[in-house]
């Protein structure tokens, strides 16, 4: 007699599954994507200046290690926007509006920093909370449009990136307490609103990175362990089934967008409230009518990390590492513009490779025998 069912009911499925789990395969896929990105980055450096390419690329790869504090400091906002994009994506929403939410968060934090006079123990905390609030508002609006009017969140998010950016630039430029028009930037923030530093010499790294990592872990718990996470993922996978199961899909869409907005807003606050390594100064905001890059980097790391909070943390640190290393490549004579291009190529090519990964994996699968997986495109494989 066949014994399929005996196998079914035995407990040994757990062990075998580790190597086959999706987290594991996402991880190897990400490594492969990064590897491809690196190769392309290197090719660009070769084209730009063949004789310096090896030395320059070495900086890109390893330079970050010498500036580990800065790597973490610059990773902080990317982690937050990455979590924002990844979290919304779990519900099937594409939050391309992380930039606007990030900028809003920054503005709210700045506003509290300049306009409110609070004791130094709580000033920065209130400013951070305000930043979260700012981002939440900017996530809430596209969420409501999506949930109640079924307007695609991508369109509203893009619009709100621009609205947010121009609005913030305008409000800062017209506020004399915040803005120095001769320098075209905000004034230095008071010490009381700067986040406590972690005390690494010559770097801005501060408590923010700890917050970001803790929040990433927290989100992971929410997604894996709570009924809210269960509903969220169910809706992302199949919103009809979620509705059938009595989940409040519309409310959940709004809540998800508010949380995503809050995460990106916190990223903005953490970036602007960071302590400066130079005494008596601070981070500043320059209203130059440009959409914050943090939002787009967030999309890249969310892709690279497969929307998995822990994956996003690592992807952000990696990207920050490449960026820091890249700035050092100018030591061997690369122009900053070339380096920017190389970094962008590495980041976006990696992210792109991740998208292509499904197709790529299928291709590889065909070459390998004993393929056990359902190809992604043949749904149900019945």
């Amino acid at each position: 007699m066949a014994n399929n069912n005996d196998i079914t009911h035995s407990k040994k499925y757990n062990i075998k599954n580790i190597t086959k789990s999706s987290a594991f395969s996402s991880f190897t896929a990400a490594l492969m994507a990064i590897f491809l990105g690196m190769i392309f980055g290197f090719i660009i450096m070769l084209i730009a200046a063949p004789e310096k390419a090896v030395a320059g690329f070495r900086f890109v790869l390893l330079g970050g290690l010498k500036r580990i504090g800065d790597v973490f400091y610059f990773a902080t906002p990317i982690i937050m926007t990455g979590l924002s994009v990844g979290f919304a994506f779990k519900m099937g929403l594409f939050n391309i509006g992380a930039s606007g939410q990030y900028t809003m968060g920054m503005f709210f934090a700045l506003y509290v920093g300049f306009m409110m006079d609070l004791p130094s123990g709580i000033h920065w905390i209130v400013a951070i909370l305000a930043g979260i609030l700012g981002g939440m508002i900017w996530g809430f609006i596209p969420g409501v449009f999506k949930a109640l009017l079924n307007v695609n969140e991508v369109i509203t998010s893009i619009m709100f990136n621009y609205i947010g950016m121009y609005l913030v630039d305008m409000m800062i430029q017209t506020n004399e307490t915040m803005y120095i028009s001769t320098m075209a930037r905000t004034k230095y923030l008071p010490q009381s609103v700067q986040i406590p530093s972690l005390g690494i010499q010559g770097s801005n790294v501060n408590l923010g990175i700890i917050f970001a990592i803790l929040i990433g872990i927290g989100l992971y718990m929410v997604l894996q362990k709570t009924t809210f996470g269960y509903e969220l993922k169910a809706t992302g996978y199949n919103k009809f089934a979620a509705e059938y199961a009595g989940m409040r899909v519309k409310t959940n869409i709004i809540i998800t967008m508010v949380i995503a907005g809050g995460l990106a807003g916190l990223g903005g606050a953490l970036a602007i409230l960071a302590p400066s390594a130079i005494a008596g100064s601070s981070m500043t905001y320059e209203p130059i009518n440009r959409i914050a890059a943090a939002g787009f980097n967030g999309i890249a790391v969310a892709l690279l990390g497969s929307s998995h909070p822990i994956g996003i943390i690592f992807a952000s640190i990696f990207i920050s590492h490449i960026q820091r290393g890249g700035t050092l490549a100018s030591l061997v004579g690369y122009k900053p513009e070339i380096i920017d291009v190389v970094i962008a190529v590495i980041i976006y090519f990696s992210a792109f490779a991740m998208i292509m990964n499904a197709g790529l994996a299928r291709l590889l699968m065909k070459l390998v025998k004993h393929d056990d997986k359902v190809p992604n495109n043949t749904k149900g494989a019945e």
Partner: protein, 515 residues
């Protein structure tokens, strides 16, 4: 020696935790209709997917006309003249019928698609075989029956001569089934060879020349249909005798559980009313069946009843509570269970594990969560219980991803979930679609047992046998109106058919003319 067009020899295909095909041999003669029979999860779809190049077997070889061939992907299969209609169709919803048919083999000159030639060929094929389709309509707008004809035309368009049909009749109305079987016979007469998967023994007896039976991944045997019987086939398949009639005692219905008054529901496709002024009661301890030809408002009615769609006017009352505008969760709490018509769209989150799907309606109950955190231990224990009780078969038990399960076992998972949930009213829409005879017997027993426990059962079915066998009372729906209330013991199938086709109608008590 016989001449076989296709031979699959000693095929073994494993999935994590399960051997889906264990040393199976199947030989197909030219011009025959060869049925493939087996319980849910026996490995039929897997075997056919191997032949179609979707899976590669670990062991075994495939021969065509005696020569060994390698089929590594569906394109290879196509080059060998092998085509397949899948259990769950693989059409692009937002493309037209024509675009779907030519997808991948578009005739082109220098990269520009030449739709005119394609259209001509499609129209010719469709006329020749009586496969009515509407070339310019989008897939998402056409009926399941027509979608299937599109899948068949896809094979014909590619000049396939070996045709695989994976449970083609599971989604069709009785009329469409008749047509399809006729078309299949026509193919065979023309010399095309057909592999036909179905759970309906009548269909096998009617069209097949031979039948191969699988059980739990293993080959049981191949028989000539003319020397065989339904009983023999089902015994080969499940290893015991199956009763085709439903045993049930007479029972007096109790209190009213569900009461529908003057319900009107708009159609999903246009502005007309799909359900018109429908009124009836369902009492505790009875099985009431809504019978009708597909597309007469059943779907809309069930959606309004279960909360997936709003009703235009009228009232729904469950256990004394007005639930006309209640949320789906509220209806569930008030005692409604719902086995949905479309298991992939509504019934399952295919990318969730089996255990996560088994608590889809109940994850929020204190049994499965505390303070918003899911109690995974309870979920696991509960799922293992259901899997055992309902014999849900899969490779990895509770942690199997629903998508990888066989179609019938997906259905069993839904049934298990809905029956086991506390309920007063069970709304079961085509609950036995895609199930093997053993599982059907089990589900029918379950429905009768709910009734005997004093629950109300509201069954929607297109299967006349099921309607006649299981129900205590039949309501016939025609063009959105209830045109007859019948006692299955007092009428014949023919009479029922007259009501369903609108040829006959009664005046029902609350039926105060819809328009």
């Amino acid at each position: 020696m016989e001449n076989y067009i296709v031979e699959m020899l000693n095929i073994t295909k494993k999935f994590p935790g399960i051997i889906a095909n264990d040393n199976i041999t199947l030989r197909l003669k030219k011009g025959e209709i060869h049925a493939l029979l087996g319980e849910n999860g026996a490995g039929k779809s897997t075997l056919m997917s191997v032949l179609f190049g979707l899976y590669r077997p670990e062991i075994g070889e495939i021969r065509k006309n005696g020569e060994i061939v390698k089929i590594n992907n569906p394109n290879d299969a196509n080059d060998l003249g092998i085509g397949m209609v899948h259990q769950h169709f693989k059409l692009v919803d937002i493309f037209t019928v024509l675009e779907n048919i030519i997808l991948g083999v578009e005739p082109n000159t220098m990269g520009f698609i030449q739709k005119k030639d394609a259209r001509k060929k499609v129209v010719e094929l469709s006329e020749k075989y009586g496969l009515r389709v509407d070339p310019d309509n989008l897939i998402e707008n056409i009926t399941v029956g027509m979608q299937q004809r599109v899948e068949i035309l896809k094979m014909l368009y590619r000049d396939n001569e070996i045709l695989i049909f994976d449970e083609p009749t599971a989604v069709l109305t009785p009329q469409e089934i008749k047509e399809l079987l006729q078309i299949m016979k026509g193919f065979a007469e023309e010399g095309k060879s057909i592999l036909f998967i179905t759970h309906k023994l009548n269909e096998i007896m009617e069209v097949a020349d031979r039948c191969t039976v699988l059980r739990k991944g293993k080959y049981i045997g191949t028989v000539d249909i003319k020397d065989s019987s339904k009983e023999e086939l089902s015994r080969m398949m499940v290893g015991r005798d199956i009763s085709f009639t439903v045993q049930k005692e007479k029972r007096e219905p109790g209190e009213v559980v569900l009461s529908v008054r003057n319900l009107t529901v708009q159609s999903k496709n246009n502005k007309n009313n799909a359900v018109k002024n429908v009124s009836f009661d369902v009492r505790a301890g009875e099985i009431v069946c809504l019978a009708g030809i597909d597309g007469n408002g059943q779907t809309e009615f069930v959606h309004a009843l279960t909360g997936l769609q709003k009703s235009t006017s009228g009232n729904i009352n469950l256990m004394g509570n007005d639930i006309t505008n209640a949320s789906i969760r509220q209806r569930s709490i008030n005692g409604m269970s719902h086995i949905p018509e479309d298991r992939h769209k509504h019934g399952l989150v295919l990318d969730y594990k089996l255990e996560e799907n088994l608590v889809l309606q109940r994850y929020w109950e204190p049994e499965f969560q505390k303070g918003g955190f899911i109690k995974f231990d309870s979920v696991r224990k509960y799922s293992e219980g259901l899997i055992d009780k309902f014999d849900i078969r899969s490779g990895q038990g509770p942690i199997t991803i629903a998508r990888s399960m066989s179609g019938g076992n997906q259905q069993k998972a839904i049934i298990a979930r809905e029956i086991d949930k506390k309920h007063e009213l069970l709304v079961a829409v085509q609950p036995t679609r895609g199930l093997d005879v053993g599982a059907i017997e089990y589900v029918h027993k379950q429905l009768v047992q709910r009734r005997d426990e004093g629950k109300a059962v509201f069954l929607v079915s297109l299967e006349l046998d099921e309607v006649m066998n299981v129900s205590d009372r039949i309501l016939v729906i025609y063009e959105g109106e209830i045109v007859g209330e019948l006692d299955p013991k007092k009428i014949t199938v023919q009479e029922l058919g007259l009501y369903m086709s609108g040829a006959k109608r009664d005046n029902i008590k609350e039926n105060n003319n819809g328009e």
